[in-house]
């Protein structure tokens, strides 16, 4: 079935579908693996970024892989707990995350195939709400203690809860008759974690510099490059035109502009292009927050000529358009918190301005 999916993915397939009001036609669809379902887990960040890495492997001609999302969820939890403990409760400890969580853990730890570590532990679908609460309860109790009183038993407690809900970390494993560790498997994929950077667009920090993006799920305190919104949009378009997909981080909390049923996300009440000021205002009054990550894999156009981004979600194939959403250009201009892209998917002149080699 996967092969069938692959074979139908070609450039400029004119797949048309009826949106609420107008017909949207896909103009470019880059290769991507089948849509997954994060189910009852707050792990969109891992699904979106792993899906992105899988597309990167397809782009590089490495073939189709199904990589484990949950290995990153498990490892990120321990790192998050470490920070929460050392910041003595003054950082974010929760189930959320960012795209760089996967990239950074890929770099230090590696990768594991889904068939080796599904994180389901016998369940049919992901259901982590109990696990999330248990972990939060432990860490909140730990940081309330006087420093020095707490020993490292919290690490063991966390480990055992993660073992129960997601499964033990495999030391080594066999995949397609070969023996691997997470590190050697990642090396066999040939992905270079240093190729991927994050971009954002806000005016409270200088453009063309890097800053620690102030969103709670940036618990790793990663630095994002800051671009004017027009240039950020240019990067997205350039990326797709050059055959690179990218990871999208943004806001989907507004049910009317991001409906689950028809999979078309637009700004109904905003006809004029979203300005830099609109973005800043929405970010600062918290009407746009980073609450979801998805994977942009192509572009589309409406009958009226409106530009759309073809976006792979992780809510299963039954939601949206077979698991995909069309986000209008204006929606993306307003609701994008950040994107993670390959360095080579950035136009040369913007790269120079950012000082990226």
């Amino acid at each position: 079935m996967k092969k069938i999916t692959l074979s139908i993915i070609t450039l400029l397939i004119c797949l048309t579908l009826s949106a609420q009001k107008e017909t949207i036609t896909i103009t470019k669809k880059l290769e991507a693996t089948p849509v997954k379902n994060q189910a009852m887990s707050n792990t969109c960040w891992s699904f979106a970024t792993v899906s992105f890495l899988e597309s990167e492997l397809l782009r590089m001609g490495k073939g189709e892989y199904d990589l484990s999302e949950m290995i990153y969820v498990r490892l990120a939890y321990l790192l998050k707990a470490y920070n929460y403990y050392h910041f003595q409760g003054n950082s974010n400890f929760g189930s959320g995350g960012q795209a760089h969580d996967i990239i950074n853990i890929f770099k230090t730890f590696g990768a594991i195939p889904e068939e080796v570590y599904s994180g389901l532990s016998g369940k049919k679908n992901h259901d982590q709400l109990t696990m999330d609460e248990a972990l939060e309860n432990i860490m909140n109790a730990v940081v309330k203690k006087n420093p020095g009183e707490a020993n490292d038993t919290w690490k063991k407690s966390l480990d055992s809860i993660l073992d129960i809900h997601l499964g033990k970390l495999p030391q080594n494993f066999t995949y397609k008759d070969k023996n691997y560790t997470a590190k050697s498997f990642a090396a066999s994929l040939g992905l270079d974690a240093d190729n991927y950077i994050e971009l954002t667009s806000y005016t409270h920090q200088p453009f063309y510099s890097q800053f620690v993006l102030e969103v709670p799920d940036n618990w790793m305190f990663e630095r994002y490059y800051n671009l004017p919104v027009d240039e950020l949009m240019k990067v997205m378009d350039f990326s797709i035109s050059k055959g690179y997909t990218f990871c999208w981080d943004g806001d989907i909390t507004d049910e009317t502009s991001f409906p689950e049923n028809n999979g078309v996300a637009t700004l109904e009440n905003k006809k004029k292009p979203v300005t830099q000021e609109d973005r800043q205002k929405a970010f600062e009054n918290f009407s746009v927050t980073d609450d979801h990550l998805m994977h942009i894999t192509g572009s589309a156009i409406s009958a009226g000529g409106g530009k759309f981004y073809l976006t792979k979600n992780s809510w299963g194939e039954n939601k949206g358009n077979k698991g995909y959403w069309f986000m209008s250009e204006n929606y993306v201009r307003l609701k994008t918190i950040a994107i993670l892209v390959h360095k080579d998917a950035i136009p040369g002149e913007i790269k120079t301005r950012l000082g990226i080699k």
Binding site: Q88, V212, E284
Partner: protein, 388 residues
């Protein structure tokens, strides 16, 4: 172990009596350690932060004042509260941007001051005292509480009036307790703004990196030091243990003072005696007389290692709670090495407000340092992956 017989008990009793008298005579004859300074770099007089959590500003200001002397610019008394005034609105804004998932604290780190020098400049103490009355010292407890309450209100209401309004509100509070800093002032019959004054003095904030030494991140790279006081998530360069302490000695030997960021929460840190020690025997295992003798008689200290440093960092036994200013080195009558550290808790009788920090204490309890880039040995500088 002794066998518990009557004879040894009596023997022990006599031994103890003799020891006690020797101690008594020794204590009377040598009421404290005798220090000989080996390096003592120029520094301005010791100040008193009193009831304010502003050690970071006092220490960094003292450090800048020493830098100015070293650079031949003369002795200046700079305003600590100018930095407090400028950084508080930024801290509050940051707290709301992070949706409260960051430390809103009157405390801070040396880079807070350097960033303020870059964006807002410097002011002499005579132009901005940072208080509205003639009361002694600084008492910020009410101001800190008020700001926290305002910040939490803004957070609860999703920042309804925006950051510009928040800044105005925080500045009103600061005005009430600290007064407004000057827009212009005169020094040596010349008129300055805070920024033009910083330029005139030639303080370049980009020359002052922060260094640390821990094993949980790769060496010679920068990482966000995990302490709540690093509320701005700034980067610290990670050095191997030997390089880190070599750098401190090298800097001092070349005439550069060093800013110290670390832990003073232990009982063996004594302001009254001006001493910071890490004895092998734990404070709580000592009798009251042994506790007092800690500061009078040399005893065996913990031998620090990179592993032990890491272990105390992981357990939070060593954590950031104070910033001070290292201005030299000394040795005592037994030849033991100390670092001379300028504190900001006013004067004491024995050491004039200075802390003599044993080498073992420095190696175990220092979390990070800030210093002039030129104070780092070039072979170490070359290995560091500097971030532009």
């Amino acid at each position: 172990m002794y066998s518990e017989t009557c004879n040894t008990n009596i023997l022990n009793f006599y031994r103890r009596c003799v020891l006690f008298f020797i101690l008594l005579i020794a204590t009377a004859a040598f009421p404290q350690r005798v220090f000989t300074n080996d390096i003592l770099l120029k520094a301005t007089p010791v100040k008193d932060q009193s009831y304010s959590s502003t050690c970071w500003s006092f220490a960094t200001t003292s450090f800048i004042e020493s830098e100015l002397i070293r650079m031949g610019k003369g002795e200046y008394d700079l305003s600590e509260m100018f930095f407090v005034w400028n950084i508080y609105p930024k801290k509050t804004e940051n707290y709301i941007r992070w949706h409260g998932k960051v430390f809103l604290t009157p405390g801070g780190q040396p880079h807070d001051v350097m960033k303020t020098v870059r964006t807002c400049g410097l002011v002499p103490q005579q132009a901005y005292k940072g208080k509205n009355d003639n009361s002694f010292g600084y008492d910020h407890s009410e101001m800190d509480t008020t700001i926290r309450k305002i910040a939490n209100q803004y957070l609860a209401e999703n920042n309804p009036r925006g950051f510009a309004k928040l800044d105005d509100t925080i500045q009103l509070v600061l005005k009430t307790y600290l007064g407004d800093p000057p827009v212009n002032f005169e020094i040596d019959h010349k008129s300055f703004t805070p920024l033009s004054f910083a330029k005139y003095l030639g303080v370049n904030p980009d020359e002052y990196p922060e260094l640390t030494s821990y094993t949980h991140h790769p060496y010679y790279t920068a990482f966000v030091l995990e302490t709540p006081y690093n509320w701005s998530h700034d980067l610290y360069y990670n050095l191997p243990y030997d390089d880190f302490f070599k750098t401190i000695d090298f800097a001092l030997s070349k005439g550069f003072t060093v800013l110290w960021n670390g832990d003073v929460s232990e009982d063996e840190f004594s302001f009254d005696y001006g001493l910071a020690l890490v004895p092998s025997k734990k404070w709580n295992d000592k009798s009251p007389i042994e506790q007092k003798n800690t500061f009078l008689i040399n005893e065996k200290e913990i031998i620090p290692t990179p592993e032990l440093r890491q272990q105390t960092f992981e357990s939070l036994d060593s954590k950031v709670d104070h910033v001070m200013h290292i201005i030299g080195t000394a040795h005592d009558q037994d030849g033991k090495k100390y670092y001379i550290v300028k504190n900001s808790w006013g004067l004491n009788d024995r050491t004039g407000g200075l802390i003599y920090m044993s080498e073992a204490y420095l190696k175990l309890k220092t979390i990070s340092i800030m210093l002039n880039k030129d104070g780092i040995p070039s072979n170490i500088t070359n290995k560091i992956q500097w971030i532009r």
